[in-house]
Amino acid sequence: MTPPDIGLMLFTAAFGLVGIGALGIVMANHLVRIVLSIVLLETGANLLLMLSGYRAGAVAPIIVDGVVPASMVDPVPQALVLTAIVIGVAVQAFMMTLVLRLYTVYGTLDIRELRTHLERDLAKAAGVPLPGSADAPLDVPATVMRKGGS
């Protein structure tokens, strides 16, 4: 049995994480699941960045006891990922504060319910009627309908 191609495996993992994250953002209806999907997508992107800097047989870019290794991996993606992880955590914490706030105001985290709530509140705040589709039936009271149709 041949050993598995480690590069292919790692790239598949990175693309898989990005894919699962992207799919979760589009398909999930729960806000916390969307936040978690963004976390997964970030992880995949970070893994992809790390992989892009790998050199075969190279060691970490750290000089031990003044001996410069013959081959070191690219330090630039590592520096990028190092900051990206911490910034990611901070932004995730901020996303969770927004989710918390939404939950205390509307009591739900389902984006379909939240959309109706938000549209109603935005329309009320702006003083305009609720936006409706041009193809939707006119909002006529049921009694009027019955009289006219007789």
Binding site: G19, V64, D74, P75, L82, V86, I87, F94, L100, R101
Partner: protein
């Protein structure tokens, strides 16, 4: 319908990414700047950890920008959630195991965090990683005893001083005729604790800033949850 379209889009995206990734061989990074930095960094910056010389030397302005993002996220979090009043409801204290573990772990986490920050230019680690450990150290007592008041004011002062120190270090380099955030103070002996010029000082500022900001943000969330009946 929307789900099928998303799946179709995802398949296309994955195919595109695999085709791009297949263009170059794994383990043969096509970037040239990394090799150049690996070659030049020991003489130019003098930090044993070359990642540190990239983060705080070659792209220090980017790091400053990332600190700004961190600051914006922490400030916006505090703005959205607001301050808890003095008479705010809070959860009861945690069990004995968590309280005892928090007392034991607080000094340990503080020490490990500071060690990682101070040795950022020598070993894997640095201000960002150590700062997160510091944040965990300050957040842990709040988990064990939700009733304790989190000192938001003093944390904000430390955070402001750390951020100002980072910028002032950069401006000092500008005043002495160098570029903004260029390392000063000579390189010292490679591998020593006092080496690589101002990079350890910058990393201490970064670590304090990251630690206080993340701890403050998490404390805001924890206090808000306690407010929720």
């Amino acid at each position: 319908m929307r789900n099928y379209l998303s799946l179709l889009f995802l398949a296309g995206l994955a195919f595109l990414l695999f085709v791009i990734a297949g263009q170059f061989e794994f383990g043969m990074a096509p970037m040239l700047v990394g090799s150049a930095i690996n070659q030049a960094s020991p003489e130019q910056v003098g930090a044993a950890n070359i990642v540190t010389s990239v983060v705080l030397g070659y792209r220090a302005i980017d790091t400053l920008g990332e600190l700004a993002i961190l600051f914006a996220a922490a400030t916006a979090g505090g703005l959205v959630l607001g301050h808890a009043g003095t008479s705010a409801r809070h959860d009861p204290d945690a069990g004995f195991i968590l309280r005892a573990a928090a007392d034991v772990l607080f000094p340990l986490l503080l020490m490990v965090g500071l060690f990682i920050i101070v040795h950022g230019h020598l070993t894997p680690g640095g201000g960002f990683q150590g700062g997160v450990i510091l944040a965990a150290a300050f957040f842990l007592p709040l988990l064990a005893r939700p009733g304790t008041r989190f000192p938001h004011g003093s944390f904000a002062i430390v955070e402001g001083i750390a951020g100002a120190a980072f910028i002032v270090t950069g401006l000092l380099a500008l005043l002495t005729g160098g570029e903004f955030l260029q390392p000063l103070l000579g390189q010292g002996e490679m591998g020593g604790l006092l080496s690589a010029g101002t990079l350890p000082l910058l990393y201490i500022a970064v670590g304090l800033k990251v630690g206080t900001e993340l701890a403050g943000l998490m404390a805001h969330i924890a206090e808000y949850e306690a407010l929720d009946p």
